[in-house]
Structure formats: C-alpha cells, structure tokens
Amino acid sequence: MPKPRDFTKGLYKIRTTANKVPMDQDLFKIITDGMPGTSMPPWAVLPDKDRWNLVAYIKTFAPDAFKEAPKKLDLPKDVSSSETSLKRGKEMFEAIECHKCHGTEGRADGPSRPELKDEWGFPVAPANLTKRWTFRGGASRTDIATRLANGVLGTPMPAFLDSVEKPEDIWHLTNYIVSLGPERPRYATLITVSATKDALPDDPNAEFWKKATASAIPLMGQVIVDPRNFNPVIDLVTIRAAYNDTEVAFHLTWDDPSETKGDGKQTFPDAISLQFPPQITASTERPYFLMGDASEAVYLLRWQQGKGVGEASANGPAKIAPLQGGEVSGKVVYTNGQYRLVMKRPRIAKGEGRPTFQPAVFTPVAIQAWDGGAGESGTRMSLTSWYYLRLEEPQSNRRFVIPPVVAILTLAAMFLVVRAANRAR
C-alpha cells in the first residue's frame, strides 16, 4: 500500500508546476479528489473553506519547502488526437522506451518493473497505462500531459519535457496513452453466457471469443481473514462465456505483470478460480462468499500456473479438496502482461459436488485471483462477492434486462464486502 505522505518533506508527487513546489490548487485538488489507487480518500464533502484551510495547514509542516514560489509549468501547445498523432505517439513511446517500465502494451510489465523503488526505498509499481482511472494524478488529457512533462516526484517516473524530440511530442504521447484504454471501466452487474450451436473453442485467441460479449468485474483485496491482502494486484477480470447443448466455457482476461510458477517461498503459482454453489436452486440462499464454510461447500472451477484447469470443492479457504474425474479442459496464453484463459466443462454435472448450468436461471458466481509473482497465495488474494450469470435462452436474440432486485442484491453484497474491508483496516 502506498505509504501516507510525509508532509514534513514537502515533496508532493502530483503537481502542475515546473519546480518542486506545488501550487495551492494542486494540494486543493488532491484533498478534494483524493488519489486513485491509494488510501487517500476524496474530501469533497468538506466545505471549500475547510479544504483551503487544510491546504494552509499542510504547508506549515514544511515551511522551508514552500519558501520558493511555485513556478507554473507551461505545457506545449495542445495537439488534438488524430491518426497521425497516435502514430507519432506510438513511435515516441517506442523510441523513448517507456516499455522498460510500463511494458510493450502498457500493462506495467516492463523488465525494470521488479526493481523500481520510490525515494523512500519502498517498491513502487509502474502505472498500468491501459487503466487510466488508476492514475494518481487524474485521467484527463491535461492531467496526463502534465505528468509526462513533470514526472511523478519521488518515484522513478521521470520528467520528459526536456527529453522528447519536439515539445509537442508530450501531446502525441498523451493521445497515445488515452487510446490504450477507457477513462473508466464499465462494470457489469450480470454476466451473460451466450448460446451457440457451434463448438466452444479452447484457444483463448480464437475469433469466436473476440466477438463474445465482455463483462468487466472489479476485484478487491481479501481483508476479512488472516493473512490479508491490503495491496492486491489483480483489480479487474473480464469474463466472456458461452454454452452449447453439451458444454459451457468461460473465457477470462486479466492483467498480471509476470507469468509466475513460483518458488514456493516468496513467489507462488499465478491462479484464478470461478466459484459456484454446488447446486443451483431458485432460492436466494447462497454459501458464504469467501469459499464457503463448514456447513455449506462451494464448487470451484479453477486454473493454476503449471497445473492447468481443475475442479475442487471448498469449505472455506483452508479446506479445499480437488474433485477427481471431471471432464474439464482449457488453455491459457500469456502475452505482454495479460493472461487469457479458457476453462471448459460439461454443461450437465458429471459427478458429485458440481452444479448443472441451465438456461434462464440466475446462477451465483464469484471470482478469486492470485498474482503469485507478488507473493499472493491462500487467503492473500483478490476476490469478488457473489455476482450472477445467466445462460441466455437459445434462439433468443433479445437482450435480457436485469431485474432490479438482482442488481440491488449484487450491489448490496459488494457494499458488505467493502464495509468488512474498511472495518478490517
């Protein structure tokens, strides 16, 4: 977890100035909006006057640092996005070698990543440039251009204003970064499993999967039972799913900066699992979302680096028993900081402890994921509470509308997890 700012150092990562001293407005903005990806919350609830008083107060902690007047940074003249600008931006990204830290496709998987430290000696991860909403200094074009010109003070992220070929390259780079991902993720509340008569391809890169509907699901660090995970790496999993008469297949995409089998001491195998109740009934009763408990088990369809796809039954995170004899298959690919995985099994359960997937039935589902390279294993994981998926009826091309009650249930469950998480802190 990023360390709380030591105000006495007067070193503020996010600023719009050309020197070390932030503008009062920079501090005001951080207090108002918080800092995404950190535990600095937004304080917009405070009246303006109180927030300005807070700015003045913070400055008293490091009077020396504020002696020098802030020098307003002059950004080069804005260049709007276009095909030529994006081309130039990509060229510069490659010529400068941003990938050394941020990775070829910007997913924070560059070769220098494992060694990056901030000025206080703590490890710091490069930003995932495909997830703009996690940028500490904001996701707008001006925010990004300012960060590129200035760098992020106190971290390895250098300033580029003096290092680009031409000043306007700052904007070409900005436009290129903006093209790498959405400003905000659009999270799904219901996962649709589409019906098909075709075979379900094992290959995660098959054309079939590119056309399938994608649902983005947010994950959080597990902070309810020890050992907890306050600094989760995997914060989003995208699910695509399809079924035919005999089989059901799940296609999962998630970012992980390293493909890890693990040494069993500091690092562990990367892994992911989809969790379902062992029987799917019409009742809204579901097993405990954290891998079930002593009285009620859950069913896991899971994948682990080096082991492949398998099934298991769990009565809590410490009691997981593999299920033998299932007909599961699947395939994983890892490229440029991203896993893509297909897990496939018979639609009708073969053997005990496994659910059958029926069309038009609301099926509870939850996700757990581990970045073994970051030392995650066991209860040190990212997870979701229960979500719902639904196998669409065959021949129906009408898009299903989520009943409000399902949406509310999903939201309520998420809220409970967040509250538990906040209490645990």
Binding site: I96, K117, P156, M157, P158, F160, D162
Partner: protein, 229 residues
C-alpha cells in the same frame, strides 16, 4: 564626518590592497597538496548478474562501494581545500556508459554539468539532493547530451531507475578539489600558501578533515586514514 569618511576610505584601501596581495600571491605562489587516503578494511565490491539490456550492459556488473587499490589506497574519495578559491572552471561531465556512471565520482565547481548517454538505450538521471533541486529526467537514446545545473555545494547521489544497480556521485565543491585515483592519491594544485583546511569525503566511509601548512611552490603531503562504519 569628513574625517570619518577619509579614515574609512583609507581602511578600505589598505584592506583591499592586502586582499589583492594575498590572492595574487596565492594564485601565483600557491602550493600543491598531495592527499593520500588510506583504508585498512576490506574492499566492498559486489558482483551482480544483469538480466536486461545485456548487449549494452553486459551480463555481469560490479557495485563498487569501497574500492581499495595498491598500498591500501582508497579510490573514489574526494579531497578538497574549501578555502582555495579560483579553481579551474572546466565543465564537469558524467557519462552513462555500459550502464555505469563514468566516472563513478565527478568533481565539479558549482555550476553546470554535462550528462551524456553513450549507450544507445534509455537511461534516466535521478539525483538525490537537498541543497539543489532534485532532478529525475529521462535520457532516451536520441538524447546524447543533457545539461543540468548544480549550483549549491553538496555531494549528490545519482541513480538510473531503468538499471537499478547504476550509482554515481557528483561532488559539487567550491574550492580546489579532486577525486583520488586507484592508489588513493589526489593532487590539489594552486592551493594558497598558509594554513588550509583539507577535507576528505567518501560515499560510504564519511568525512574527515585536517589542517595543513601549505608552502608556496612546493608539494605538501597529507595522509588520511578512513575508518569503516
């Protein structure tokens, strides 16, 4: 009032003349101080496997914390005579070469430093300073030379975040100063005659100072022994 002014002027003239005399004599009739820095402990040089940019960086590099040469001489220490003004203003240069800062310690007068990248790959120049503004600028392969200002006396640590083992130092020293060679010797030229303070600094072994009596036109030797921490 008038009398006061005259006396004042006279005093000013006399001191001015005295100062002029002192500096000219100092510059022309200064002496050389040969500083010898010794270290009795074991050298600290670590080898490290390199797994990136191996074409430019090689597959192995050394981290030179304490380099001890012939006769227990300590290399990469900085000797200076802070009282000796008017040292050479030659432009300081540090090069990022073979994924190392060359030289490991650059000695400069407060002013400008030229930073080179001879490697044809990305480096960044990241300074850790308190007196000077800290710098963290990318130096891509097409940016062969950058110029930065270091105007306040300070020993500035320099790193490159792309290659975490890269470490160098810039000694911003106002007086006459030089880094010790592999035998632990640094020659300070043109040090004004008379009592002078000589300082020695090393990145891991700290600072020491001594006073020497510099004789015009001759070499004064002074020896330091650094202690392990």
């Amino acid at each position: 009032m008038r009398k006061g002014l005259t006396i004042g002027t006279a005093v000013a003239l006399v001191t001015g003349a005295a100062m002029w005399f002192a500096t000219t004599v100092g510059a022309q009739g200064g002496g050389t101080v040969e500083v010898e820095v010794k270290y009795n402990g074991a050298p600290q040089v670590e080898k490290l496997k390199v797994n990136k940019d191996t074409e430019k960086c090689g597959t192995e590099t050394t981290i030179e914390k304490v380099v001890v040469g012939g006769n227990k001489g300590l290399a990469n220490a900085v000797a200076s005579a802070p009282g000796a003004k008017g040292a050479s203003k030659a432009k300081a240069v540090i090069d990022q070469h073979g994924c190392k800062f060359v030289p490991h310690v650059v000695v400069m007068q407060p002013g400008e430093i030229e930073i080179k990248n001879s490697d044809d790959i990305l480096h960044n120049i990241h300074t850790y300073s308190t007196a000077n503004p800290s710098i963290n600028k990318a130096q891509p392969k097409f940016k062969k030379v950058m110029t930065e200002k270091l105007e306040k006396p300070e020993f500035v640590k320099v790193t490159c975040d792309v290659h975490s083992w890269m470490l160098g130092w810039v000694a911003v020293v106002p007086g006459v100063a030089a880094a010790t060679d592999t035998n632990g010797v640094a020659k300070l030229e043109n040090v004004p005659a008379g009592k002078q303070k000589i300082e020695v600094w090393h990145e891991t072994l700290g600072k020491q100072e001594k006073e020497v009596d510099v004789k015009a036109g001759s070499v004064t030797k002074v020896s330091f022994e650094m202690k392990g921490k």
